[in-house]
């Protein structure tokens, strides 16, 4: 994309620019903040994973023999809270978005570097409060905090957890605000809106949701905490409140929050598919605008969580209809990605394996969402394992697969080293198999009538639950493997060079790892994204320059 190329011969980069703890904890460099997020959310992912293992262990037998019903309630709640608020929501935006967005825009940093660091500290503060909650016995309300579970029927740490979510929300708002201002004001010369990589479009749409939605959930959990502490009647009918009002306010954010998790992942997949098939994304404009359409439509569908919560039939019908409409922009993306692969020069490296897995798993996750959007069928499926399987296909099969694909793809840019390709492919295959074995049986067991959030169940469901638990152990192996080979590669991996994938995009034109100021020159963009003939030109120009130097 840039006309000018300079291979930096110096080894000065953002990683060796200061080695003290202070140089990391007080850094304003978006790349270092991205890495701080990477470490912190990995810890939260591990904690959430431990809770998931406990759930699957309990469900191996039909009797509730490993833990009591109350403990089980706490375990699945903490699994959901950790994974959603402390892993999935910050995952791609705060790690890869922070690291890549300014480089993709040809900027030196985000618009507000200090706010960026502040967002990490707020995240850590909120996360620490949640860890204190966890150590103090956790909460048993489900990650959705529905009253009356969270108001009169819970004697656990709901208030503390609510404060923690309230605080963590600000970290998300600051990240979104930073990205939006950065995209508006800090694009390199020549980088028009329709020359932006689709990763940037996806993050723009995500920021929109983060800024407009997060304040509502913050107020909602705060209202819940106030009600518990001061007996103000907001959600408790005994005090004159209304529990359904909580569901409206909670899902106004929390449904769009699903798109906070999946949209950045879709942005990653667009980059992976374009670069791994060496083709311009088919229907670039449609894919870009479908991200915005998902962000906007996402705000109009929350009532589909409430079909059985005494919501009026009329509201149910409107929400059901709009929910079907959200399938259109999602399908546009899926069809355009597959059209991009068609006749592309496909290489099956690890990132592409993840991209292909995403297309398949997200399609299953999305299509089963349509089952749940149907007013009648949802009465049968509501609060069953079918729902659990559906959102894990979207959240794990979509968001986490995209996250892992992106980490593999940009790892050489982040560290300057290649990960071991063979191990990458093996772990991707293990994750794909383990994931399907874990969650496909849950569609079946849910359709047969197994409700979610129960620690004991009818004996005829046992075979399906054992399959699921077996799959979970395979999935765990697949998730643990990258930790080891990534750590190994930092020291022993093959040197990556500036552009190991021969990819388009400004981030591949600076050195790996990039210097603190990202570019040693001012990049100028003269082409649309994903124009691979220019990548070849740039590479040849670079070779010529090296020869003459």
């Amino acid at each position: 994309m840039a006309t000018e190329v300079m291979e930096t011969t110096s080894t000065r980069n953002y990683l060796n620019n200061g080695h003290t703890v202070k140089s990391w904890l007080l850094t304003l460099d978006h790349k270092r903040i991205g890495l701080l997020y990477l470490f912190s959310i990995s810890i939260f992912f591990a904690i959430g994973g431990v809770y998931a293992s406990l759930i699957r262990l309990e469900l191996i037998t039909p009797e509730g023999d490993l833990m009591t019903a109350e403990t089980y309630n706490k375990v699945f709640t903490m699994h959901g809270v950790m994974m959603i608020f402390f892993f999935l929501i910050p995952s791609i935006p705060a790690v890869m978005g922070n690291f890549l967005l300014p480089i993709m825009l040809g900027a030196k940093d985000v618009a507000f570097p200090k706010l960026n660091l502040l967002s990490w500290y707020i995240f850590i503060l909120g996360g620490s409060l949640m860890l204190i909650t966890m150590i103090n016995g956790g909460i048993d309300t489900g990650w959705t905090f529905y009253p009356p579970y969270s108001s009169i029927y819970s004697n656990t740490q709901v208030t503390l957890a609510g404060v923690s979510i309230f605080i963590t929300g600000f970290s998300s708002i600051l990240t979104g605000l930073n990205f939006m201002v950065t995209i508006h004001t800090m694009r390199a010369p020549g980088l028009t809106w329709f020359r932006l990589p689709l990763f940037v479009w996806a993050h723009y749409a995500t920021s929109l949701i983060q800024i407009l939605g997060t304040p509502v959930v913050a107020i909602t959990v705060l209202a819940l905490a106030l009600e518990r502490t001061f007996q103000i009647g907001i959600f408790d009918p005994k005090l004159g409140g209304d529990p359904v009002l909580f569901q409206h306010m909670f899902w106004f954010y929390s449904h769009p929050a699903v798109y906070i998790m999946i949209l950045p992942s879709m942005g990653v997949i667009s980059e992976l598919i374009a670069n791994m098939t060496r083709k311009r994304i088919f229907g670039y404009h449609f894919v870009a605008f479908s991200s915005l359409a998902i962000a906007v439509f996402g705000f109009l569908v929350w009532g589909h969580h409430m079909f059985t919560s005494s919501q009026s039939m009329y509201a149910g019908m409107v929400f059901s209809l709009i929910t079907y409409a959200v399938a259109i922009p999602s399908a546009i993306k899926i069809f355009n990605w597959t059209a991009t692969i068609y006749k592309g020069s496909v290489s099956y490296d690890t990132p592409m394996i993840y991209a292909l897995a995403f297309i398949g798993l997200f399609t299953v996750g999305g299509m089963t969402g349509l089952f749940l959007a149907a007013l009648g069928l949802d009465v049968h499926l509501h609060d069953t394992y079918f729902v659990v399987a559906h959102f894990h296909y979207v959240m794990v099969g979509g968001a986490i697969i995209g996250y892992l694909g992106g980490i593999h793809f940009w790892w050489p840019k982040m560290t300057g080293r290649m990960y071991p390709e063979v191990w990458g492919r093996i772990s991707a295959a293990i994750i794909f198999l383990g994931f399907n074995l874990t969650f496909f049986p849950q569609f079946v067991v849910g359709y047969l009538g197994m409700p979610r959030r129960y620690h004991a169940y009818a004996p005829e469901f046992q075979v399906l639950h054992i399959l699921s638990s077996a799959g979970a152990s395979i999935l765990a192996v697949g998730f643990i493997m990258p930790v080891f080979y990534f750590a190994w590669s930092v020291k022993f991996g093959k040197k990556a060079g500036n552009n190991p994938w021969m990819a388009s995009g400004l981030e591949w034109q600076t050195s790996s790892p990039p210097p603190t100021e990202n570019f040693t020159y001012q990049p100028v963009v003269t082409h649309e994204p994903y124009e691979f003939e220019h990548v070849e030109e740039i590479k040849n120009a670079g070779k010529l320059e090296n020869k003459t130097a």
Partner: protein, 118 residues
């Protein structure tokens, strides 16, 4: 982009005083109206008057004290979209509350009295 839009726009002091005066007048109206029960004339009139006064006051604060009137188009779009999203929250939630059928559970009938005066 936004360098020479009116970030340094100097608002004459008399504008601030005029807005302050208007806010005081509206406060006085609120206090005055509070002495009468307007429900007596028409069911929801109390809330209509209160919300109208509040909306006008909030608009004045946002436009003049928060300088949105002199800000760039982009800032104005962002302010309006914030309000638009608030409207989505209220309208779609009310869509549920206003279209409830008769014969609802007891606590649900309680819901109507909270949100629909009169």
């Amino acid at each position: 982009m936004a360098e020479h839009t009116a970030e340094h726009h100097i608002v004459p002091l008399k504008v601030y005083f005029a807005v302050f005066g208007a806010l005081m007048v509206f406060t006085a109206i609120t206090v005055f109206v509070a002495q009468f029960d307007l429900e007596h004339y028409w069911g929801p009139l109390n809330i209509i008057v209160a919300m109208t006064v509040a909306t006008i006051k909030a608009t004045l604060v946002v436009l003049y004290f928060m300088h949105v009137r002199y800000s760039s188009r982009l800032t104005q779009v962002i302010v309006v979209s914030g309000l638009f999203w608030l409207a989505i929250l209220l309208v779609f939630t009310l869509m549920d509350y206003l279209s409830e059928p008769a014969g609802q559970p007891s606590w649900a009938s309680n819901r109507k009295t909270i949100f629909l005066p009169g």
